[in-house]
């Protein structure tokens, strides 16, 4: 974390929050005084160097706040008299966002697994098995020889046999066989494997099917907006269209025409990509634009300069000053 502060008519401060920074370098492109420097993103991303992505030259920084307004990931916080300019009506506002509609969500958990920022937290409460299947069980302990075959084969782990060390005062291997009806699915495997016909299983699920209420899975799904970078993974992977993502930029990510990708020898792009949008396929970089936020980290990290980011549109509104508009819109120009 780097902080630049200056006091005068207004108290201004700029804070870089490294835990939110993706190392994309957008702010370094925007800074009019070259006060921001991007560190070695590849060694940092690979964990070979411990360093913040961005360093700020306190002497050069004029505390204009352009960098904070340009960062789509809220990694730079610029305050005037302790008020964050992101919340001030005079300053530009980013309009990208992500949300998960709880009404649509079926709590399948795919988004939480796929999210590259671990920004989705899911807690779900599943119904008891006994709400879904019905039946009766009985073990005839006079017949049971405690062979353990039922216990071993039970797919629901519902059978427990109490076994003991054989000794002269306990000349038997087991003392009880129990079927836990909260786990039993009345499939009948135990009954069929039992060599002594000691188990009775009656499944009454089909008989009762008209009385079984539809079961609702309850849960909570939380999207941590602090962690989310609007990459689109949740939206693409959701089977019921419950996740909605609006990205900060629209545009294209392509390869240079004569790009000789070094693939598995290099994979710098894959390692710096904050969105898990890049993988190595057949020894060549493979970029899925559906998951890309066009941040440009890969473009910078590629030693062959083979990746081209073209930003056509950006969701930054309320840019009131002409000079700021010109500067911020420079992000849109394709390189």
């Amino acid at each position: 974390m780097v902080v630049v502060k200056r006091e005068g008519k207004q108290n201004r401060s700029l804070e870089h929050k490294n835990q939110k920074c993706l190392g994309c370098g957008i702010c370094t492109d925007i800074c009019p005084t070259s006060a921001l420097r991007l560190g070695p993103i590849l060694p940092i991303a690979r964990g070979l160097l411990k360093s913040d992505y961005i360093s700020i030259n306190q002497e050069k920084c004029c505390l204009c706040g352009l960098c904070a307004s340009s960062c789509p990931f809220d990694a730079l916080e610029f305050c005037i008299n302790d008020e964050n300019t992101r919340h001030m009506k005079q300053y530009p506002q980013w309009n990208h966002n992500a949300s998960i509609d709880e009404k649509e969500c079926i709590y399948c958990g795919k988004c939480a697994i796929a999210c590259p920022r671990d920004a989705i937290h899911l807690q779900r409460k599943l119904p008891a098995r006994s709400d879904l299947v019905f039946g009766e069980t009985e073990v005839d302990l006079d017949k049971c020889v405690y062979c353990g075959m039922c216990e071993e084969m039970c797919p629901a782990d519902a059978i427990t046999i109490e076994k003991n060390e054989v000794s002269s005062d306990k000349p038997y291997v087991g003392s009880s066989t129990k079927i836990d009806e909260s786990k039993c699915i009345y499939c009948g495997i135990c009954k069929r494997i039992c060599p002594e016909d000691a188990i009775k299983i009656v499944c009454t699920t089909c008989m009762n099917r008209d009385n079984i209420k539809p079961v609702a899975v309850d849960g909570d799904i939380i999207l941590d907006e602090d962690q989310c970078i609007n990459c689109g993974w949740c939206q693409e992977i959701c089977p019921v269209d419950a996740a909605h993502v609006t990205k900060p930029f629209e545009g294209n990510i392509t390869f240079e025409e004569n790009f000789e990708c070094k693939g598995d020898s290099c994979h710098a792009c894959e390692d710096v990509c904050p969105c898990n949008a890049i993988s190595m396929v057949d020894n060549h970089s493979f970029i899925n634009p559906q998951f890309c936020v066009l941040c440009g980290a890969c473009e910078r990290a590629c030693p062959q300069k083979g990746i081209v980011i073209e930003r056509i549109d950006m969701r930054l509104a309320n840019v009131r000053s002409t000079s700021w508009d010109k500067r911020l819109n420079s992000l849109k120009q394709s390189k």
Binding site: P43, D264, P303, Q304
Partner: protein
């Protein structure tokens, strides 16, 4: 194209701000340490240029 280590700029691993970063970054094992110096093994190099791009002393160049 062979990679050249500029011995004047590279002051050896003990003086390297990245503690031999080029060796750690090279996936092909084309850079090795010998007596605190970087040794380049041409046959292993795949010309990915990661070492050139990331050397903190800018001591690696191509012919």
């Amino acid at each position: 194209m062979p990679v050249i280590i500029d011995q004047e700029k590279c002051e050896g691993i003990s003086e390297c701000p990245g503690e031999g970063l080029c060796i750690k970054l090279c996936e092909k094992g084309a850079l090795e340490e010998k007596d605190n110096q970087i040794v380049f093994i041409s046959e292993k190099c795949d010309d990915c240029d990661i070492c050139i791009q990331n050397c903190p002393s800018q001591a690696i160049v191509k012919e």
